[in-house]
Symmetry: C2
Subunit: 196 residues, 2 copies
DNA sequence: TGCCAACTCTAGCATCGCTAGCACTCCTGT
DNA sequence: ACAGGAGTGCTAGCGATGCTAGAGTTGGCA
């Protein structure tokens, strides 16, 4: 019994080692540099070991992506909490989102650009994913009614995602990033009541 | 002289043949199915011929992308022209953009998702690229001042791009697409003056 | 102590983008 | 008309990719 447990524990540790190594390699040199051979060398095992843990390279990237969502959710939450006024939180959270994408491009790629087969807009989606989405929702709550909060969150998310991906692909001039971000946030802020 | 011209003409025709075949193959089976071997077989030449026309596979994709921008610009223009009221054009053009991405996913990938090394936000960018961007700008013009038109166009574009890419990647539920699109357009419409 | 099961590694497959070098074609000048 | 030569397309192959089959070794159990 105990020996079985030890083996499972060691297996879990090795699996985490693989994910961590993949993430480190991707963040250092980009995903195109993450080959199964290099990854195997990093964790000091042979290639087939990777396939005893994950179905393929995509599954490894998906595991990294889940870690990324946890980090993103934490960043967004920190930005929201530290905001002086709930109405200012939207700008802070949006900026945090953009910063995350800029600071961790490889992680962001795994989460969004790649084809990783994660369940997203369903209850089966990993909890960290709902958490990240929830932070955006909370930041938007003071600015809209409950009935359209979900859809509005999705749309804001799309706007942020578009901004960072187009900029990173060289499709948008980086020097105007702040202005675009401010403009987007402004358009998603409630202005009907008071212009204070 | 004449014979030299004929050769150049034939070369140009063959180059166009390669681009057309690449595009057809990509639209039929996706870019991962477009290998240099299959492409060469389609155009009934050997692989190295491709490299006498293009520096590599990326360059072929870039050529397809330019064609895509021309198509997109045409679609957007048609939507804008056919709009009854200039103030309604924004919704029409936005819907046309989303439709384009949905109807021609492979083309859209070549234009935006892939790393194709095209000059974008510079004067060196292909004219068709400015044309497509200009259509979005024209649709937005009735809704904002000239000083922020450029930045606003970039931001709307990012919003549209985010919507279609996240939806195609399974990150957003398709059934709410129309509502998200309407919401985005609404947020980019001028509402300060009249609620008519 | 001997055996069996589980596990890991070596080696290799099919395919990828890309290229070197040979062979052929076709225009040119005498 | 015909030999020479420049240019062009092909065959074959390189290094690298993701992934897998089968051999070989290790380690716990009777």
């Amino acid at each position: 019994m105990s020996i079985q447990e030890r083996r499972e524990r060691e297996r879990a540790e090795r699996e985490q080692l693989i994910v961590t190594a993949a993430r480190a390699l991707a963040e250092a040199e980009g995903w195109e540099a993450v080959t199964t051979r290099r990854l195997a060398e990093r964790v000091e095992y042979s290639q087939p070991v990777l396939y005893s843990h994950f179905k393929g390279k995509d599954a490894i990237m998906a595991a990294v992506a889940v870690e990324g969502f946890a980090d993103l959710a934490a960043d967004l939450r920190a930005a929201r909490i530290s905001a002086s006024d709930p109405r200012h939180a939207l700008a802070e959270v949006s900026a945090a989102y953009a910063d995350f994408a800029e600071r961790r491009p490889a992680l962001y790629d795994a989460m969004f650009s790649q084809t990783v087969n994660l369940p997203f807009a369903t209850p089966q989606a990993p909890p960290v994913l709902h958490a990240a989405f929830g932070e955006l929702s909370q930041a938007l709550r003071p600015h809209t009614g409950d009935d359209e909060l979900g859809t509005l969150t999705e749309t804001l998310w799309a706007g942020l995602h578009g901004l960072v991906t187009l900029m990173r692909g060289g499709r948008l001039p980086p020097e105007d990033h702040e202005r675009r971000l401010a403009l987007l946030v402004n358009r998603f802020s409630q202005r009907s009541g008071d212009p204070t």
